[in-house]
């Protein structure tokens, strides 16, 4: 006499529902992180537009006087500072974009897992119902 398939137990159904909820929450978190990283990278990238060391050019001046020379040296020193800061900010933008891509991948994987878990849950409910 064949065994009767009684379908998933309530505990199994509960576990499947919990897994779907967890995956959905993870997916939302990963997507939110990726969006935030992209927004921050975009903001910093826009800020680097104002950090152009080449625009500070006092090297070609013909005026020669101690005070002028000191002021010129001071302005030229600013170029190095701006260049250094810009480089650091560019590095941050790159790092943020990498983090955003990593969370995109995590979101992609979570989406696949969520699809599978949702289908599994639907099948279980159909079997139990």
């Amino acid at each position: 006499m064949p065994a009767i398939d009684a379908g998933p137990t309530p505990a199994q159904l509960h576990a499947l529902v919990a897994r779907v909820d967890h995956l959905r929450s993870e997916l939302e978190k990963f997507e939110r992180y990726a969006r935030a990283c992209r927004a921050a990278a975009s903001k910093l990238s826009a800020a680097t537009g104002g950090l152009s060391p080449g625009a500070i050019d006092v090297g070609g001046m013909s005026s020669r006087a101690p005070r002028v020379d000191r002021a010129r040296a001071s302005a030229e020193a600013v170029r190095g500072t701006v260049d250094s800061v810009r480089s650091r900010v560019d590095g941050m933008v790159g790092d943020l974009q990498h983090v955003a891509v990593a969370y995109d991948r995590k979101a992609h994987d979570a989406r696949i897992d969520l699809t599978a878990a949702t289908a599994q849950l639907a099948a279980a409910r159909a079997g139990g119902g």
């Binding site: 921050a40 625009a55 013909s62």
Partner: protein, 349 residues
Amino acid sequence: MASGLMVIAVDELSTADQQLRAQARRLEGAADDLVVSTGDLPPEAQSIVAGLPGLRNRVESAARQLRTAADTFGTVAAEAVLADGGGLFGTAFGGLLMKTLTGLKGDVIPPGGYGPFGPVPWIAGRFTLVAGAADTIFSHRYGYPWADGTHWRVYGTGPYLSPKWRGPVEWAGKVGKYGGLGITLASTFSQRLNRGESVPQAAGGAGVETASMWACATAGARVANALPIPNPFVKGGAILIGGAGAGAACSTPGRWLGDRASAIPGRVVDGAKIVGNDVKNTTLDGVKILGRDVKDPIVRGATTVGNDVKDTAVDGVNKVGSGLSTAGGFVKKNVLDKIPTPDIHISLP
């Protein structure tokens, strides 16, 4: 003082003045944009942007440095124009006129651009100036306060006050008397910080610069006090003008002396800063590389562990540095930078 041929191209300097000011404004705008809300970011991204406050401070400092250079170009150009029109007398008079006009803005005319404290620091500076001047003139005219029975007379004349007011009035007089010196010192200190000097440099330079100006102001007041002027009010005014004039005349040499004094701790501090930066960068790089070495070879399931190790270490180091930098920047920006321009209070011998 360097000697030799001086070449002053007025148009070129004026153009550079304008261009550097425009660049300073751009840098200030960029500094304002170097802010990211970290609330929505994942932990590893928060550690990436933890250094932003420090970078922002560096950009703001660079903008101030550009403005100082622009000021120099503009002043040299203006002095050259005046000197060209008036020869040696024009040079001296022009320089004095320029300094006077520059000093007027901020001393008499509200400088604007108030910070979170509003115009209060500027008004406090004017109060000490007026109180100091009044103290100088009235104490010369009427002598020092005295008590008589149940009443006390301000400088022997004027309104009668109950003795209970004597303490507060004398306290206000002291504020006027010594506040000017304190404000001069603090303001000079703040200006030197704005020019990019370190705290020890700025402290040494400000001390020497203020002492020089103060010595000149006292000497000027003594000379005026020795003049045979019969009218006591006029004499009080002459003492005030003599002190203020001598103090102002010594501002440039005093600044020069202060610059020499500030260079001494500067060399030590720069050396320490270089060593400190090397240590900090090496540590941060080491932690970062270690974090990556741990993270890269392992599969996705273990990445979280590596990230946590790396982020916690880097975040901790960055947050300490960032916290100190932000606190220092806040104090400098909201307290020291808001102190008004120097007052010269005349202290009678």
